[in-house]
């Protein structure tokens, strides 16, 4: 892969205006596929969820999954779209073995939803309104594994193996209109937009919304134009960007790469580019004409979808609150400071904190555990916090043990590691391992006396009001009791002693 020349990011933004456009594919979590009754399931043995329809045996006829249509309408409504009174499917013709039919059943001129918008807040706090052009239904393609060559990548592959389990899984593709005005924050806006979409589909319950499983996939269009120029620049479409962090990085990379080319008087080739997470770079894929020559035509095997007003209104009535409204409500309920709350949102901790609070924890302690110890643990294990081997209920239990004075911070952190290791619930671990804080006065006084024997001046210091002197004794008691002493109680006892 040839190394691209990149322009310094700030310099690129001085010279050019950034325009982005995003296409997000959502895999629906219906029980079955879009057009047949095969299971929609991730991770099964290859080619075991296939039938004559999804591997395109002659004579097979598709039938539309009602639930998938309802989920698509729900997504459209949640994005403020109009729902088409008459929508139909189209064949998008292309030859590639990821679909056995040689076409993808999609929607073309009559998407199910169109003309929506979404308010997106970026980490700096600025709010952008993203216009949604359309959301349409289509089917996912099968999974190709390239064999031979050096790294299993397509270049140099000798042959490919195809698993059609994913072929025909329902997808909704959400397409934005060009997004202007984000300036240097365009990469953050792209990521924040995808995060909002993910929150919406998760909130609707229509997708598992796991990016690492490809439930949410993003193609990022980026173009640059000199400030003040009306005409849009030539865009590239970067595919294969499968985490929020990669979206940010890929957009930033394209801005820097295109700026370097344009500044030298070169021109951008309209093409598909691939994002390589390991290299932190994009590389050229196939060149893309404005509308690839897919020869769309109406799908003759499927009749139009005409959702009734009643159906649309009944789905609208079940929509959960909008992410922006939910955030406002939660921030208000929890009383988090602006910055605290923003950090929680950016670390994707809203759901787990909400569940932890629902299980009885105070918002601040829920925040403390999830954004501290647990975020670190997730980072070390390279997974989402939500996928850690600990439930919000367990975190709430831990918080209540700390609240009740049975655990101090250090012990609680220790208990946490045992919970993550699968030893059970916090209370069970505390009793099984005897980790409870010692607040028994007898044991504490004995330890205090031992510490005072070595530091006899401390009591005088406390009497004179120099409370910081108490720290040394508290520290010594802690050390003697291997961290399990109730520090607050030690302090109280020490003051009692000094004033006796």
């Amino acid at each position: 892969m040839a190394k691209d020349e990149l322009m310094n990011y700030e310099k690129a933004l001085e010279q050019f205006e950034v325009v982005i456009g995003l296409e997000v594919h959502i895999e629906l979590n219906t029980k079955t596929k879009m057009f047949c009754g095969c299971r929609n399931e991730f991770g099964d043995e290859p080619n075991t969820n296939v039938c004559p329809i999804c591997i395109a045996l002659p004579g097979a006829l598709p039938a539309v999954n009602r639930k998938a249509v309802e989920s698509s309408i729900a997504i459209g409504l949640a994005l403020g779209c109009d729902i088409a009174p008459n929508g139909r499917f189209a064949r998008k013709n292309y030859f590639y073995p990821d679909l056995a039919k040689n076409f993808q059943t999609s929607q073309y001129d009559e998407p199910i939803a169109f003309n929506g918008s979404l308010e997106v807040e970026i980490p700096s706090g600025a709010v952008h309104v993203i216009d949604i052009e359309r959301a349409h239904m289509e089917e996912d393609a099968g999974k190709l594994t390239h064999i031979g060559g050096s790294t299993g990548r397509i270049q140099g592959a000798e042959y490919s193996l195809v698993d059609y389990n994913r072929a025909g899984v329902p997808l909704v593709e959400i397409v934005t209109r060009p997004v202007f005005g984000a300036g240097s924050e365009a990469p953050e806006l792209a990521a924040a937009y995808v995060r909002s979409i993910r929150e919406i589909v998760k909130g609707l319950g229509v997708s598992d919304a796991k990016m690492e499983r490809g439930n949410v996939r993003c193609d990022a269009n980026v173009s640059l134009r000199p400030h003040g120029q009306e005409k849009l620049g030539t865009r590239t479409e970067t595919k294969n960007v499968n985490s929020l962090r990669s979206i940010e990085r890929a957009v930033r990379y394209e801005i820097q790469r295109q700026a370097a080319i344009l500044a030298k008087g070169g021109s951008i080739i309209q093409e598909t580019r691939h994002w390589h997470e390991d290299k932190g770079a994009t590389s050229s894929g196939r060149p893309k004409s404005d509308a690839d020559d897919y020869r769309y035509f109406p799908e003759p095997d499927l009749v139009p979808v005409q959702p009734s007003k009643e159906l649309i209104e009944s789905i609208r009535a079940t929509l959960p609150e909008k992410p922006a409204d939910r955030r406002k409500r939660l921030q208000n309920d929890w009383g988090f400071a602006e910055l605290e709350f923003r950090d929680v949102v950016n670390a994707d901790l809203l759901d787990v904190i909400e569940e932890t609070v629902a299980a009885g924890a105070k918002p601040q302690s829920a925040r403390k555990w999830w954004s501290g110890e647990l975020a670190r643990a997730a980072n070390n294990e390279d997974k989402d916090v939500a996928d850690l081997a600990i439930t919000p209920i367990q975190v709430a239990e831990l918080a209540s043990l700390v609240e009740a004075g049975k655990l101090n911070d250090r012990l609680a952190r220790e208990v946490l590691t045992y919970v993550l290791a699968g030893e059970g619930n916090p209370a069970e671990i505390v009793s099984a391992r005897g980790l409870e804080v010692v607040s028994d006065d007898g044991a504490l006084i004995a330890a205090i006396d031992a510490a005072l024997a070595k530091q006899p001046d401390v009591l005088d210091a406390i009497r004179e009001g120099r409370m910081q002197a108490a720290g040394a004794v508290i520290g010594a008691v802690m050390q003697a009791m291997k961290g399990s002493a109730d520090a607050g109680r030690v302090r109280e006892l020490l003051i009692e002693k000094a004033n006796a």
């Binding site: 219906t30 029980k31 079955t32 057009f35 047949c36 009754g37 095969c38 299971r39 043995e45 290859p46 080619n47 075991t48 969820n49 296939v50 039938c51 004559p52 591997i55 045996l57 039938a63 539309v64 999954n65 009602r66 639930k67 998938a68 249509v69 139909r88 499917f89 013709n93 030859f95 590639y96 073995p97 190709l144 594994t145 390239h146 031979g148 397509i154 270049q155 592959a157 000798e158 042959y159 490919s160 193996l161 195809v162 698993d163 059609y164 691939h274 894929g285 196939r286 020559d293 020869r295 035509f297 109406p298 799908e299 003759p300 499927l302 009749v303 139009p304 979808v305 005409q306 959702p307």
Partner: protein, 99 residues
């Protein structure tokens, strides 16, 4: 007369993965032009000249399947018609220009 040029025929043949001889290109260009002209004649006969595309001759809509799992093929059955397979999967020639 519609403009179905020999180059357009070659382009369409390429998209459809059909091998055509030069003689066939000439022949198809002529035939396809005739078909396109016939369609244009029909279109022109309708007032305004525009006919919305019809995907289905019978006016029906909303034919749905409930979201209920039905039996799939076994892996063995699925692969039984494949020219080549391996590892429980269909084996195809490596294709280089996409992904």
């Amino acid at each position: 007369m519609s403009e179905i040029t020999p180059d357009l025929v070659r382009h369409l043949a390429g998209l459809s993965r059909i091998l055509v001889t030069d003689q066939e290109v000439e022949q198809f260009a002529e035939q396809l032009s005739l078909i396109a002209d016939s369609v244009a004649t029909v279109s022109a006969a309708i007032e305004g000249g525009h006919v919305p595309a019809t995907s289905h001759p019978i006016p029906m809509a909303n034919v749905f399947r409930e979201d209920i799992v039905e039996p799939s093929l076994t892996q063995e059955q699925a692969l039984s018609g494949a020219p080549d397979s391996g590892d429980g999967r269909f084996r195809v020639a490596a294709i280089l220009d996409e992904e």
